[in-house]
C-alpha cells in the first residue's frame, strides 16, 4: 500500500529543516481540510483565559488540532501541509521549538509555509496554524 512520503532532496541535510521540502501523497488518498486554529479553545470562550505567552499559545493550537485529527482517526503523521501565520516573526524560533517538542520522537515533518501577518482571527492571538491532512488508502 502506498504511503504518504516525506521527500528530502539531500538526506544528509534533513536535520537543518523542521519541515519537509515536499510531501508526496499517493493517488486516491483521503484529504482532510481543517479550519485554522489559534489559542482560543472555543469561538465562544469568554473565560478570558487567553495566554499571551507564545509557547503556551503554540501548545494550545497544537492541542486543538490534535483533537480534530484524533476525532478522525488521524495523527500528526497524517499532516501534509501547514501554514504558520505569525503576528511577530521573532516568535518563529519558539514556535518551531515547541512544535518539535510536541512531535516528540516522530521523524515526520509536514510541508510548511511561514507567513508574518497583521492580525489573526481571535484578539491577542500570535500564532495560527492551518492544517491539511491526508490518509493513504490501500
Amino acid at each position: 500500500m502506498a504511503e504518504l512520503e516525506l521527500i528530502e532532496l539531500d538526506e544528509s541535510k534533513a536535520y537543518m529543516l523542521p519541515y519537509a521540502p515536499a510531501i508526496k501523497v499517493p493517488p486516491g488518498s483521503e484529504y482532510y481540510f481543517l479550519s485554522g486554529a489559534t489559542e482560543v479553545q472555543t469561538e465562544r470562550d469568554d473565560s478570558g483565559d487567553y495566554p499571551d505567552d507564545i509557547r503556551e499559545q503554540t501548545l494550545r493550537v497544537l492541542n486543538r488540532h490534535t483533537d480534530v485529527l484524533e476525532a478522525n482517526g488521524l495523527t500528526w503523521e497524517n499532516v501534509i501541509h501547514v501554514y504558520e501565520f505569525l503576528t511577530d516573526m521573532r516568535d518563529a524560533n519558539i514556535v518551531h521549538a515547541t512544535m518539535g517538542e510536541f512531535y516528540g520522537d516522530s521523524t515526520w515533518k509536514p510541508a510548511n509555509t511561514l507567513i508574518g501577518v497583521n492580525a489573526l482571527s481571535t484578539p491577542g492571538a500570535r500564532f495560527e496554524l492551518d492544517v491539511i491532512a491526508a490518509k493513504a488508502i490501500g
Partner: protein, 142 residues
C-alpha cells in the same frame, strides 16, 4: 484528464496569466511543497545570518525561488507543466508586476500556468525576503 485548466470562458484562455482554476484527478500523485524564499533550500533552523543573505533585486529573489522549485520538481520527476497551484506572498505589492514577469519567463514555452493566489503580507522568515512562493504539483500515477 489528469491535470487541467478550468476556464469559465475557454475562448479567453490566453487573456489571463493564470487560469481561474486547475483540476487534479484523484488518480494523480500530489506533491505538497514547503514555501520558499530566496535563501537556499537547505539552511539551518534557527536561521544563521550567513545563510540568509538575500539579493536586493526582486527579479533575482523570484528567480532563486523558482530555481529552488525547479530543483524540487525535477528531483520528483516533475516539470513546470505539473505545477497546479502557486501561493505568492509579497511584502511590497509594488513589486507584483515584476514578479509575475519573472514567473511568466519560467513558464514560457510550456503553454501552461498554474492557479495562483497572491497576498501582501508583513514579514517572511528572513529579513530582506520580499517574496515567498509555495507550490502544489501533481502528476498521473503511472
Amino acid at each position: 484528464m489528469p491535470i487541467a485548466q478550468i476556464h469559465p470562458e475557454p475562448a479567453r484562455r490566453n487573456d489571463v496569466q493564470f487560469p481561474p482554476a486547475v483540476s487534479v484527478d484523484s488518480n494523480d500523485v500530489f506533491f505538497w511543497m514547503s514555501g520558499a524564499t530566496a535563501i537556499p533550500l537547505y539552511h539551518m533552523h534557527p536561521h544563521i545570518d550567513e545563510e540568509c543573505v538575500l539579493p536586493d533585486d526582486i527579479r533575482e529573489q523570484t528567480r532563486r525561488i523558482l530555481n529552488t522549485f525547479d530543483e524540487v520538481l525535477r528531483f520528483n520527476g516533475l516539470g513546470w507543466k505539473d505545477v497546479v497551484k502557486f501561493s505568492q506572498f509579497l511584502t511590497d505589492m509594488r513589486e507584483y508586476d515584476t514578479v509575475q514577469e519573472v514567473i511568466a519567463d519560467f513558464f514560457a514555452g510550456t503553454d501552461w500556468a498554474p492557479a495562483s493566489t497572491t497576498v501582501g503580507i508583513n514579514a517572511l522568515s528572513a529579513p530582506g525576503a520580499r517574496l515567498e512562493i509555495d507550490v502544489v504539483a501533481a502528476k498521473p500515477a503511472n
